[in-house]
C-alpha cells in the first residue's frame, strides 16, 4: 500500500428486505463520498440504522458496495475477489469490535498470535511480536490468562493487541467501548489515541458516544452528513 488514504466514491449500498421481493429494498447509502487521510483518527457518528457499521465493513473489505468505489491506499478493493480480499485484510487492516470475539480456548498470548499464523514468522518471532503487542496495551502480565479470567476492559485490550500485532496501517473499531464502563472506556480510547499519535495508525471508529468521539481528530456525523475537526466543539459544516 503506497499510502493509507481511504476513499469512498459514489457509494451506493442497498439491502433487500426479502429474498422474494424485488421492490422491498432498503437504501443505506446513496451516492456517498468520503475521504480519510493517512494518520487520521476519525469517529463515525449518527443514530442507529444510518450505516456507520456498513461503512466500516466496506472499508475493511467485509462487505461490498452495490455500486461505487472503495479505494484504500490507491487500491480499489471492491474489485478484489474473496481470496484476494482475505489476503488484503490480513496485510492491511486490524479490527476491533464491540464484542472482543477472543477465542476462549486460547490464552491472551495465543489469541494475539493468531493473525501471525498467516505470516511467514517462525514460532519465536510470533511469540516476540505478540508479547510486544501485549505490552503496548499494558497486558504483558496477563499473557498466560484465558479470556474468562480477564475483565471486559482487559479483554478489549487483548483484542486491540490482536488487531495491531501484524502492524496494519489501518484500525477499524466498531463501538470498541460499547460494553465498557466510563473509566475503562477512557483507558481504551486513550490507548487508541496513542496508537494513532505515536504509531501513526489510521483509525476509523464507529461510536454513539460523544465522549468517545472527543478522542478523534475528525468526527463525521452521518445524520447531518457533516464533519467537525474537534468533536467537543460542535460546529457542524455541510460538505
Amino acid at each position: 500500500m503506497m499510502n493509507n488514504n481511504i476513499e469512498l466514491k459514489a457509494i451506493n449500498k442497498t439491502y433487500q428486505k426479502s429474498k422474494n421481493s424485488t421492490d422491498n429494498q432498503v437504501v443505506v447509502h446513496d451516492n456517498f463520498n468520503l475521504k480519510i487521510n493517512s494518520g487520521e483518527f476519525v469517529a463515525l457518528m449518527g443514530p442507529s440504522g444510518m450505516g456507520k457499521s456498513t461503512l466500516l465493513h466496506l472499508i475493511g473489505g467485509l462487505d461490498k458496495p452495490t455500486s461505487g468505489q472503495v479505494i484504500i491506499g490507491g487500491e480499489q478493493i471492491n474489485n478484489l475477489n474473496e481470496s484476494q480480499l482475505t489476503r488484503w485484510r490480513a496485510d492491511n487492516i486490524g479490527f476491533v469490535f464491540q464484542s472482543h470475539h477472543l477465542l476462549p480456548v486460547l490464552t491472551a498470548q495465543a489469541n494475539v498470535e493468531l493473525p501471525l499464523a498467516l505470516t511467514h514468522l517462525n514460532k519465536s518471532q510470533r511469540k516476540h511480536h505478540a508479547a510486544t503487542a501485549l505490552s503496548l496495551v499494558s497486558m504483558a502480565d496477563r499473557a498466560k490468562h484465558f479470556p474468562k479470567e480477564l475483565s471486559g476492559g482487559q479483554e478489549q485490550r487483548v483484542a486491540i493487541a490482536r488487531a495491531i500485532v501484524s502492524d496494519p496501517k489501518i484500525l477499524l473499531c466498531d463501538e470498541p467501548t460499547g460494553n465498557l464502563d466510563r473509566k475503562t472506556a477512557d483507558e481504551i480510547l486513550s490507548l487508541l489515541a496513542k496508537l494513532n499519535k505515536e504509531y501513526g495508525k489510521t483509525i476509523v471508529m464507529v461510536t454513539h458516544d460523544l465522549k468517545a468521539a472527543e478522542y478523534a481528530s475528525k468526527v463525521i456525523n452521518l445524520e447531518t452528513y457533516t464533519y467537525d475537526l474537534k468533536a467537543h466543539n460542535v460546529q457542524e459544516a455541510r460538505l
Binding site: S53, T54, H57, G60, L62, D63, E82, S83, T86, R87, R89, A90, D91, F95, F97, Q98, S99, H101, L103, P104, V105, L106, A110, E113, L114, P115, A117, L118, K123, R162, D174, E175, G178
Partner: protein, 386 residues
C-alpha cells in the same frame, strides 16, 4: 499456536461431548473390527491347497456318517487327485470343559492333502506305525504341557469303545507346526483304523470326505458328479468347497455375511449422523469466532481444513479405541472358539481400510460445517451481535 494445537484445543472445548461422541465412534469401530476378525476367519483358508479341496458329508446332517468305501468311488471322478476321510471324535481332556478339536483321520493320505500342518517326516512315520498315536498341534502341546511319548487318556462325548468306556488311551507321537497364523494349531488327529477297530458302533463309516482336485478341474462339475453318484442311496451326500463348508458351520449359528452387512450399514449410518450433528453443533457455537478469524485474514479453505481435521481427530480417536478393544476381545474369542473356527484375527491391511474409512467419514462429517463456513457473511455475523 500450531494447527495441531488449535485442533486439540477446539476438540476439547466440550470435553464430555467429545468423549461421548468418540465413545459412539469407538463402539462402531469395535463392532466393525470384531466382525472383520470373524470374516477373516471365514475367508482365511482361501488360497493354497484349500481352494482345490472339497468336503463331502451326509446330505441330511454332519452328524450322520457315510460309508468308508465312498473314498474309492469319489476317487474315480475325473479331475479328482486324492481323497481322504475323517470322523469327529468329540474329545475332551479330564472334564468336558476342556473340549478338544479331535478327529480320527485316514493315516496314509490325510496329511498329504492337508499340507498346512507341518510334521517332520520321522515324526509322521512314527505316528503311522503307532496305532494309538496322536498328532497334536503346538498350541495343544503348549496349553497342556504334553510332549512326545506322553500317554494321554482322552474321553469322547460321542464314541464308546469296545470295553464300554468313553475313555480312550493315546500316546503323543508327533507335534505339528502350522504354515501360517490363520491355521489352527490346537487340533488333535489319530488313526481312523484304530478308531474303527476300537469303537463299539458305527464301524466302517466316516463323518466326511476331503477331496483334492487338480488345479485345472472344474469345481462345480466335480461337486455335481460326486453327489450324483450317491443321490439315490440311503447315504446321499452334499459336496461343497472347503471354504463353503467352514462358512456353513459358522452359519449354523447365524448368517454371518448378512449380519455383518446389516450391522455395518446400521452402525455407520448412525455414526455419521452422530458425528455430523456434533460437528454442525460445534461450528454453530463458534460462528462469531469463525467470522472473526475470517476478518483477521483466515481463508475459508483454512478454516474448513481445521474443521476437517477436527472431525478426523474425533473419528480417529474413536476408531483407535474401538480397534484396540476389539483386538483384545478377538484374542479372547479366538481362544474360546479355536475348536470351532480358527483364524479369528485382524489382517494388517484392515487398518489401512479403517484409515481410509475415517478419512472418508471425516469428509462427510465436515461437509455441512464447511458449507456454513463458506457461506458465512462476516458483516452479518459480527454485526448481528452488536
Amino acid at each position: 499456536m500450531s494447527l495441531f494445537e488449535m485442533i486439540i484445543k477446539n476438540s476439547f472445548r466440550k470435553r464430555i461431548r467429545f468423549a461421548l461422541t468418540a465413545l459412539s465412534v469407538a463402539v462402531a469401530f469395535f463392532l466393525l473390527t470384531l466382525l472383520a476378525g470373524i470374516d477373516h476367519a471365514l475367508n482365511s483358508n482361501i488360497g493354497g491347497n484349500s481352494q482345490f479341496r472339497l468336503m463331502t458329508s451326509h446330505k441330511v446332517s454332519m452328524t450322520q456318517s457315510l460309508p468308508i468305501n465312498y473314498q474309492k468311488k469319489i476317487a474315480k471322478v475325473e479331475g479328482v487327485k486324492a481323497v481322504t476321510y475323517a470322523s469327529w471324535f468329540g474329545g475332551y481332556f479330564k472334564n468336558e470343559k476342556n473340549q478338544l478339536a479331535m478327529s480320527a483321520v485316514e493315516h496314509t493320505s490325510y496329511f498329504s492333502l492337508f499340507d498346512e500342518y507341518l510334521i517332520s517326516q520321522p515324526d509322521l512315520d512314527s505316528w503311522k506305525k503307532n496305532r494309538i498315536g496322536i498328532v497334536i498341534g503346538q498350541g495343544v502341546a503348549t496349553e497342556f504341557g504334553w510332549k512326545l511319548g506322553d500317554k494321554i487318556p482322552l474321553s469322547s462325548s460321542i464314541w464308546m469303545n469296545k470295553q464300554g468306556s468313553f475313555s480312550w488311551e493315546f500316546v503323543v507321537a508327533a507335534i505339528y507346526q502350522t504354515k501360517g497364523a490363520s491355521v489352527d494349531d490346537k487340533r488333535i488327529f489319530f488313526q481312523h483304523r484304530y478308531f474303527d477297530k476300537s469303537r463299539a458302533y458305527g464301524r466302517n463309516n466316516a463323518s466326511w470326505f476331503s477331496t483334492q482336485i487338480t488345479p485345472e478341474a472344474n469345481l462345480d462339475l466335480i461337486t455335481n458328479q460326486v453327489d450324483a453318484q450317491f443321490n439315490n442311496s440311503s447315504f446321499a451326500t452334499r459336496t461343497t468347497s472347503e471354504q463353503v463348508f467352514i462358512k456353513e458351520q459358522a452359519q449354523q449359528f447365524a448368517d454371518m455375511a448378512m449380519v455383518i452387512k446389516v450391522v455395518l450399514i446400521a452402525v455407520f449410518f448412525t455414526l455419521l449422523l452422530i458425528v455430523c450433528n456434533t460437528m454442525v453443533q460445534a461450528i454453530r457455537e463458534r460462528l462469531n469466532e469463525i467470522a472473526m478469524m475470517k476478518a483477521l485474514g483466515f481463508s475459508s479453505f483454512n478454516l474448513i481444513k481445521q474443521v476437517y481435521l477436527e472431525s478426523f481427530f474425533l473419528l480417529s480417536s474413536g476408531a483407535f479405541i474401538g480397534c484396540l478393544l476389539a483386538n483384545i476381545t478377538l484374542s479372547q474369542v479366538q481362544k474360546l472358539m479355536s475348536n470351532f473356527l480358527s483364524g479369528i484375527t485382524i489382517d494388517p491391511s484392515y487398518y489401512f481400510y479403517v484409515f481410509c474409512l475415517v478419512l472418508f467419514a471425516a469428509f462427510i462429517c465436515s461437509f455441512f460445517p464447511a458449507l456454513t463456513i463458506k457461506r458465512l457473511m462476516i458483516s452479518n455475523t459480527l454485526g448481528a451481535k452488536q
